[in-house]
């Protein structure tokens, strides 16, 4: 059976109110922008979204926030979004902040069938409150849980028709982890090629992790902070 879906509407049709969804991307880079638009159009509500960030007011996951479709966000950094702040302060939106490395490892572990792991990250902070502590070799660690989700939405650069995925540059970020942790993983890509055209050595996400595949056209790939060099070799960013 082919994994290729013709429309984003059909690819996400099983996603219902109350679903838990892991979404790839860092900032606006490598986000599954077409799947997010389809979710916005479908209008499903009370979603729990696990994603490093929450888009901006008018793009990415910010579109679902603006449409009041998100009940809970699990993220490491959400500072780019005014609607987020309004909904959080009014109590409409529940938020769980997770250190970025812990979030990445929780998703990776979930996808790898590992229910929990110990980490030093967060020891002695609010993050550690209520969590099991354990000492290994004289150092304290806390227990963190793996994460899985009903669905994962990922964005890759290229796929073959079997669903093997290749990402491009820093647009990879959380996408390969999300792909592993979704019970149903929906991958959108810029180009689909025949099996054999992608070198097996270069595949980042093997096809086993992908249930549905779509090619999107006309990716916007918005840039949050476009910075260019003033002088050659200019590194500083403000």
């Amino acid at each position: 059976m082919s994994k290729i879906n013709e429309s984003f509407e059909s690819a996400i049709q099983e996603i219902q109110d109350g679903a838990t969804i892991i979404v790839g991307g860092f900032g606006l880079s490598g986000i599954p922008e077409k799947s997010i638009l389809a979710l916005r159009d479908k209008g499903v509500k009370d979603l729990t979204i696990i994603s490093n960030n929450c888009g901006v007011d008018d793009w990415g996951l910010g579109l679902l926030l603006a449409n009041k479709q998100i009940k809970k966000m699990i993220s490491s950094y959400v500072g780019e979004n005014k609607i987020f702040e309004q909904q959080f302060l009014s109590g409409e939106l529940e938020v769980e902040l997770v250190p970025q490395g812990t979030l990445a490892e929780r998703i990776r572990a979930g996808g790898a069938g590992i229910p929990g792991f110990y980490t030093a990250t967060g020891v002695g902070t609010k993050i550690a409150e209520g969590k099991e502590h354990k000492e290994f070799d004289g150092k304290m660690y806390i227990l963190e849980r793996g994460i899985t989700a009903d669905f994962a939405l990922v964005k890759a650069w290229k796929a073959d028709t079997l669903g093997n995925l290749v990402y491009r540059k820093t647009a990879r970020n959380f996408n390969p982890l999300a792909a592993m942790a979704g019970k149903v993983t929906i991958a959108e890509v810029e180009e689909i090629v025949e099996p054999g055209e992608l070198q097996p050595d270069q595949i980042h996400t093997p096809s086993i992790f992908v249930q549905r595949l779509l090619q999107g056209n006309g990716y916007e790939k918005r840039i949050e902070r476009k910075t260019v060099q003033v002088e050659k070799g200019d590194f500083s960013w403000t």
Binding site: L28, E80, T170, V230
Partner: protein, 216 residues
């Protein structure tokens, strides 16, 4: 000299040839421009790049190539891209030689607070809690006092912690401190600062190194 410039000039001396370095957002990112050409380092960006290059020219701008501050960058020859779990394996697994982060408060026991102010909108800690627990050396750069003239170098942090007992070195516009098993030690006075001034503007208890360096 501008306060930030004093901090940057001293902090860049921490970056040694051959290191893999993560620079946090804020003052630390400004350090990248000051690294001397004779020193070769790889700068890590936690969104999945080891080997950050300069900003792109307008023609090179690529939405698929950004830093952790979500700004467009380039990659140096020899750079590598990877996913977020592998990125934090570098950080949490002790493979990053040096992390330089900004601070709101540092305590005399090396606690760092730099991610939230109660009552203000919480933006999130991003990768800071991972960096302070995982990097081989954690250097905090910050102004010595806040805009009201109050010491940011505290006996105990009043703000929520990013990490407990994690800071190895603190660099301010007045002084450099090291954190040792026997407490906080003043090792340098920065650019004309006097011991009396540092004592007056530091709430934390500290000892003075017998080898105290004084820069005039």
């Amino acid at each position: 000299m501008d306060v930030r410039q004093k901090i940057i000039q001293r902090a860049v001396l921490e970056i040694k040839d051959g290191m893999n370095v993560n620079l946090g957002i804020g003052i630390p990112t400004l350090l990248a421009n000051e690294i001397p050409p004779s020193i070769n380092v790889l700068l890590q960006s936690e969104n999945g790049l080891l080997g950050i290059g300069p900003y792109p020219t307008p023609a090179e701008v690529d939405p698929d190539l950004i830093n952790a501050g979500k700004e467009t960058v380039t990659a140096v020859p020899g750079a590598a891209f990877f996913d977020s779990a592998e990125s934090f394996a570098m950080i949490r697994g002790g493979h990053i030689d040096l992390a330089i982060l900004g601070g709101m408060e540092v305590s005399e026991t090396g606690d760092l607070a730099n991610w939230m102010i109660p009552g203000k909108m919480v933006k999130g800690m991003g990768g800071a809690m991972d960096l302070v627990n995982g990097a081989k050396k954690v250097v905090v750069v910050m102004e010595h006092v806040n805009k009201h003239g109050e010491s940011k170098v505290k006996q105990i942090c009043t703000l929520p912690l990013t990490g407990k007992n994690v800071v190895h070195c603190l660099i301010t516009d007045l002084a450099v401190f090291e954190f040792t098993s026997s407490g906080m030690v003043l090792i340098e006075l920065v650019d004309g600062a006097t011991l009396e001034e540092v004592q007056e503007k530091t709430e934390a208890s500290f000892t003075v190194s017998p080898q105290l360096l004084i820069h005039q």
